[in-house]
């Protein structure tokens, strides 16, 4: 069985799938601020719903973002640690791929934009096209752009009019008017992508897709204590 999880969008989502892709259990809560608290109990619940034990899991799939960093890391380190403890492989899936999978699996055609919340007035975006797969082992879509991060008003005009998945259109309706599909990632769809790629032997790294460098400034010279000049903000002290 495959254990799939994603913490890159507002959903904390966990699924258990058979290796044939059949869905055995899915547990999801919408609570982006409580990933640390909620994820492990959700895994426990999904295993119970699938009537499985940790020992039944032979593959782990984890969403690699992009998404808010703190929650994203909780998901990735959970997937990596669980897999390491069971001595089984862990597969990384770009989280937008799971949204595309859900969309095209539902029968959609053409081109779709995924736009998820990147905070700071920006969105994470990817573009996908429906394709004719070589055989039934391959995915029925291909990513043609992204993932990348930018302000919604800076997206190319012809992208903004595309049918759009994710919370981007809800946050920026003026720039992204065409909300059509799922708002958040589903672990069941993520697991489906991971299995398809696993069966054709694709490399699936679990490195997080941060797309931004950490905020950190060189502190420069110490502020003068004699003249009372304000210095640049100092980094946080060590706790």
């Amino acid at each position: 069985m495959l254990l799939a999880l994603d913490t890159s969008t507002s959903a904390i989502t966990v699924a258990v799938l058979g290796l044939d892709g059949g869905l055995l259990a899915e547990q999801t809560v919408i609570d982006p601020r409580a990933t640390t608290e909620q994820l492990a109990p959700l895994i426990e619940r999904a295993l119970r719903e699938a009537d499985a034990t940790p020992g039944d899991i032979t593959l782990v799939a984890v969403g690699t973002g992009p998404g808010p960093f703190t929650g994203l890391r909780v998901g990735i380190v959970t997937g990596r640690s669980f897999a390491h403890a069971r001595s089984i492989p862990v597969l990384g899936v770009p989280s937008h791929d799971a949204m595309a999978q859900q969309w095209f699996f539902g029968g959609a055609e053409g081109t779709v934009l995924v736009a998820t919340d990147a905070r700071r007035k920006e969105v994470y975006t990817s573009v996908y096209d429906r394709v004719a797969p070589e055989d039934e082992d391959h995915l029925i879509w291909a990513r043609t752009a992204g993932p990348e991060v930018r302000r919604p008003q800076d997206l190319p005009e012809h992208w903004r009019g595309l049918p759009t998945l994710g919370r981007g259109p809800h946050l920026y309706p003026d720039h992204l008017p065409q909300s059509v599909g799922p708002l958040d990632v589903s672990a069941a769809a993520l697991g489906g992508v991971a299995l398809a790629r696993y069966h054709v032997g694709e490399d699936q790294p679990t490195e997080p897709l941060y797309l931004r460098r950490p905020d950190a400034a060189d502190p420069g010279r110490p502020a003068s204590t004699l003249r009372g000049e304000g210095g640049p903000p100092a980094p946080k002290g060590r706790p």
Binding site: A34, T35, T36, E37, Q38, L39, A40, P41, I43, E44, P54, F69, T70, R73, V74, G75, I76, V77, T78, G79, R80, S81, F82, H84, A85, R86, P208, Y210, P214, D215, A216, A217, D218, P219, P222, S224, T225, L226, A234, P235, K236, G237, R238, P239
Partner: protein
């Protein structure tokens, strides 16, 4: 599991060290640490996002290395312990999430423990059972605390703490003023060894009035400012900066207050053992002065080796093993990371003992 010797893996990610330690009862098997300190050096302090990213990359490789070096398979473990606070929120979450995944995947109990209590418990693997009570002086880049410890697994009382900068933070800031690299502690210690104590810098919160209101509290912010002023005055007067002498004089002021108050706390609370822990416990002058003053007062001094004074996973494993030996309650899988966890909470989600006379 063997009742007397649980095999426990401990995870520590509260700041910039990814620590994984394994203990067998009270025996230390391995202490593996991956540090991101060099990535922070150019910023002059720990950058939380840089630390969190480094924890994610180092977490599983450090667990792997600890097991390999200890000759332990994860399947052999009896329990997992993890620092659940206090510390940098995003950094803590990486360790807490990893510990939960291990606990769940292996089917062994999880113990979310207090970072400061772990600094006290580490001495059990170094010097044997803790005398009860023990007085603990914890001094690091984030903490300066005097703790009365009747039982490290569930009863820790805060007598005092820094009301502003932590001692290690003062070392970092003064090092910057003196043009020494981050982290400042070891560089000031080294410079001070060839310097003379020539400047009488202030001892914070030691005046008569302060000794009434802040008897066991510390303050290092005024000291840091005094050093900065002194240095700037020298530079303004066009004189060469006697770096070694300033370092020695500053260090003396910090160490004097720390040891004076720690020994006083032992005497007044009738405690026969003082343990010094935290990164600043690696300071050679602090060790020497604590030894001298404890001997004079008839107090047994316990200081773990420097590698166990700084943040590490072995200390977390040591406290976890004590929790198991004393049959303390297990943490639930919804255990949060608590960045401002009070030191009086030895374990997350349990009843709290607060010393209301000393609100820290």
């Amino acid at each position: 599991m063997s009742e007397s010797t649980p095999l426990v893996l401990g995870i520590e990610t509260s700041c910039d060290e990814t620590g994984v330690g394994i203990v067998h009862g009270t025996e230390l098997l391995v202490d593996a640490v991956a540090s991101s300190v060099e990535e922070h050096a150019r910023f002059g302090g720990v950058v939380p996002e840089v630390a969190s990213r480094a924890h994610l990359e180092a977490m599983v490789p450090t667990i792997e290395r600890a097991c390999r070096e200890a000759g332990v398979a994860l399947a052999d473990l009896d329990g997992i312990a993890v620092t659940s606070g206090p510390g940098l929120a995003g950094a803590l979450m990486v360790g807490v999430a990893s510990a939960k995944a291990l606990s769940l995947a292996l089917g062994v109990p999880l113990y979310g423990v207090n970072h400061l209590a772990s600094h006290v418990a580490v001495d059990i693997v170094e010097h044997g059972p803790l005398p009860e009570p023990t007085m603990a002086l914890l001094v690091s880049g984030g903490h300066s605390s005097l703790l009365l410890v009747p039982d490290v697994t569930h009863d820790i009382r805060s007598l005092g703490a820094s009301i502003d900068d932590a001692a290690g933070e003062a070392f970092d800031k003064v090092a910057r003023v003196l043009g020494l690299p981050f982290p400042g502690g070891p560089h000031i210690d080294r410079a001070a060894q060839v310097g003379q104590i020539t400047i009488d810098f202030p001892r914070g919160l030691t005046s008569g009035r302060d000794m009434e209101r802040h008897r066991f509290d510390f303050s290092f912010s005024g000291l840091k400012t005094a050093v900065s002023r002194w240095v700037e005055q020298q530079q303004r007067d066009g004189r060469d900066l006697p770096v070694a002498d300033v370092a020695a004089s500053f260090q003396e002021a910090v160490v004097d207050v720390l040891t004076r108050k720690a020994v006083l706390a032992c005497t007044e609370h009738d405690v026969a053992a003082l343990q010094v822990g935290g990164g600043v416990a690696a300071n050679s002058r602090l060790r020497a002065m604590a030894q001298e003053r404890c001997e004079a007062a008839g107090i047994a001094l316990r200081v773990p080796r420097p590698g166990l004074c700084t943040d590490n996973g072995a200390m977390v494993a040591s406290l976890g093993a004590q929790m198991m030996l004393k049959a303390r309650p297990v943490s639930a899988l919804d255990l949060p990371a608590d960045s401002s966890m009070p030191v009086t909470d030895v374990q997350s989600g349990l009843p709290v003992t607060v010393d209301h006379d000393h609100p820290h």
